[in-house]
């Protein structure tokens, strides 16, 4: 019974739900503002993503006649629900160690592609050729960026397993880093850390990897036919997804708390997410254009995956 209560709390309020939504919208606002400042503009206000969502929530919903209405309506809801559950099992160093019994990186591997799946469902149910193009691009890119993620997961797990911890548990990974120092400072894990940092813009579709939702070519691809509250749900999903991938990187690389009270640790966690956002999303987006689909695919297979595999090999040899 208490397990169910704890899980509900985790999904609806603390690491997922209200907290993740607020943090995600805040991070999106910071992203837009800092990007504007990098381009020497004034930029929107910090609460602009929230204003966008409020605006979308009172707009009319239009559904194409030829669309599959059930799938069209369900896709954003499924995506948001999926990322909220994912956020619930994300540990926050020194504050929260995830829902017990679910804190496993194999579960994460199944939960992380859900937002991409929702986008694909949206694209192919909308009966629009641009939506279908966005669907195929999203799918191809997903095959590319899942590989370095899996290799990084394995590298971290083998490193922890080598020290006598249980392999795939997030709790064990956190405990290992509390004892032995963060993975980021471990020389064996540096290539995997870089691969994970490149994975973040890949999965968020920013910078070089803005391929599925490329505005000039496929007009936002899967989101093309969406309007009103459904589009707002997709924006919320993207905000929570940003929080999830940043928290994932923090949990795998540097979950160490600052010590002291819970609030200090929480602020430290948010600070780490913010720094990671600025490095991997904002500056990356400001500095790069966009790749073609085949180039993006090759980028992940030529550079990012081998980097993570190097770490995996080293961790296996040195265990």
């Amino acid at each position: 019974m208490s397990n169910i209560l704890e899980a509900t709390f985790a999904v609806l309020i603390f690491p997922g739900g209200a907290f993740a939504l607020a943090l995600g919208l805040f991070l999106k606002g910071v992203d837009r503002k800092v990007l504007a400042r990098l381009q020497r503009r004034v930029g929107p206000t910090l609460i602009q993503p929230l204003l966008d969502i409020l605006k979308l929530s009172i707009k009319e919903t239009l559904i194409p006649k030829t669309a599959n209405e059930l799938a069209f309506r369900m896709a954003p809801v499924l995506g948001l629900a999926g990322v909220l559950v994912t956020a619930a099992i994300m540990p926050v160093g020194g504050v929260w160690s995830g829902v017990t019994g679910l804190g496993d990186i194999l579960v994460l591997l199944y939960l992380l592609p859900i937002p991409a799946m929702a986008l694909m469902l949206a694209g192919c149910s909308s009966s629009s050729p641009y939506g279908a193009l966005g669907f195929s691009r999203e799918m191809a890119l997903m095959f590319a960026y899942e590989m370095p993620l899996i290799a990084t997961f394995l590298a971290v797990a083998v490193r922890v397993g080598g020290a006598g911890g249980s392999l795939f548990s997030l709790d064990a990974i956190m405990a290992y880093q509390f004892l032995h120092g963060p993975m980021l400072l471990d020389p064996v894990m540096i290539p995997a850390a870089l691969a994970l940092i490149i994975f973040i813009p890949g999965t968020m579709g920013s910078g070089l990897f803005d391929i599925p939702e490329a505005e000039p070519e496929v007009i936002e691809g899967p989101l093309l036919e969406y309007s009103g509250p459904l589009l707002a749900t997709f924006h919320l999903m993207s905000a929570v997804k940003l929080v999830v991938v940043l928290e994932l990187a923090v949990a795998l690389l540097w979950p160490n708390p600052l010590g002291g009270s819970v609030l200090v640790n929480l602020a430290w966690h948010v600070f780490k997410c913010l720094v990671l956002l600025l490095v991997s999303v904002t500056c990356f987006r400001a500095a790069t254009g966009r790749l073609r689909l085949d180039q993006g695919f090759a980028f992940f297979f030529k550079y990012t995956t081998p980097m993570a595999l190097v770490s995996l090999g080293l961790a296996t040899i040195l265990r």
Partner: protein, 151 residues
């Protein structure tokens, strides 16, 4: 709560460009307004969107000639309520230099109600931005009067 939302909503206008047979002069000026950092429209919350379904403010350029009329009206109907229209340049208001030409019958506002008109041939980027800001007032009034909204 609803009042608060109605107050906040006009701070997030998403813009869509609708070319109704224009000579491309106004479109260049609109692209300049949006796409270069110098006239930063994002500071009032604007975002250019490619899909009409995401749009709130519609910037219409051109005199709506016979060839594109049906298509333009079809795209216009795909923009969800509440929407505000801005005619950019002389053409939407009067036909401009295409007036009384063989390819058009009337200017745009015979078919699409124009809320704000930005004169000029082509108008300066500053004028277009001022038109967008004026359109926000129209939008705010419309939300308060409930004439265009779902509730």
């Amino acid at each position: 709560m609803l009042k608060l939302i109605q107050k906040l909503v006009p701070r997030s206008p998403w813009i869509y460009r609708l070319n109704a047979g224009s000579c491309n002069g106004c479109d260049v000026e609109m692209a300049t307004t949006a796409l270069i950092p110098r006239y930063d429209v994002e500071r009032i919350g604007c975002k250019y969107c490619g899909s009409p379904r995401h749009a709130d403010l519609v910037l219409i350029s051109g005199p709506l000639n016979l060839r594109v009329r049906e298509k333009v009206l079809r795209v216009f109907n795909e923009i969800p309520h509440p929407k505000v229209t801005i005619g950019v340049g002389a053409c939407p208001a009067s036909g401009g230099c295409f007036r009384e030409g063989y390819s058009l019958e009337e200017p745009v506002d015979q078919y699409i109600p124009l809320d704000v008109i930005v004169p000029g041939c082509p108008p300066r980027p500053q004028a277009i931005i001022e038109g967008v800001v004026k359109a926000l007032d129209v939008w705010r009034k419309r939300l308060e009067e409930d004439t265009c909204c779902r509730f």
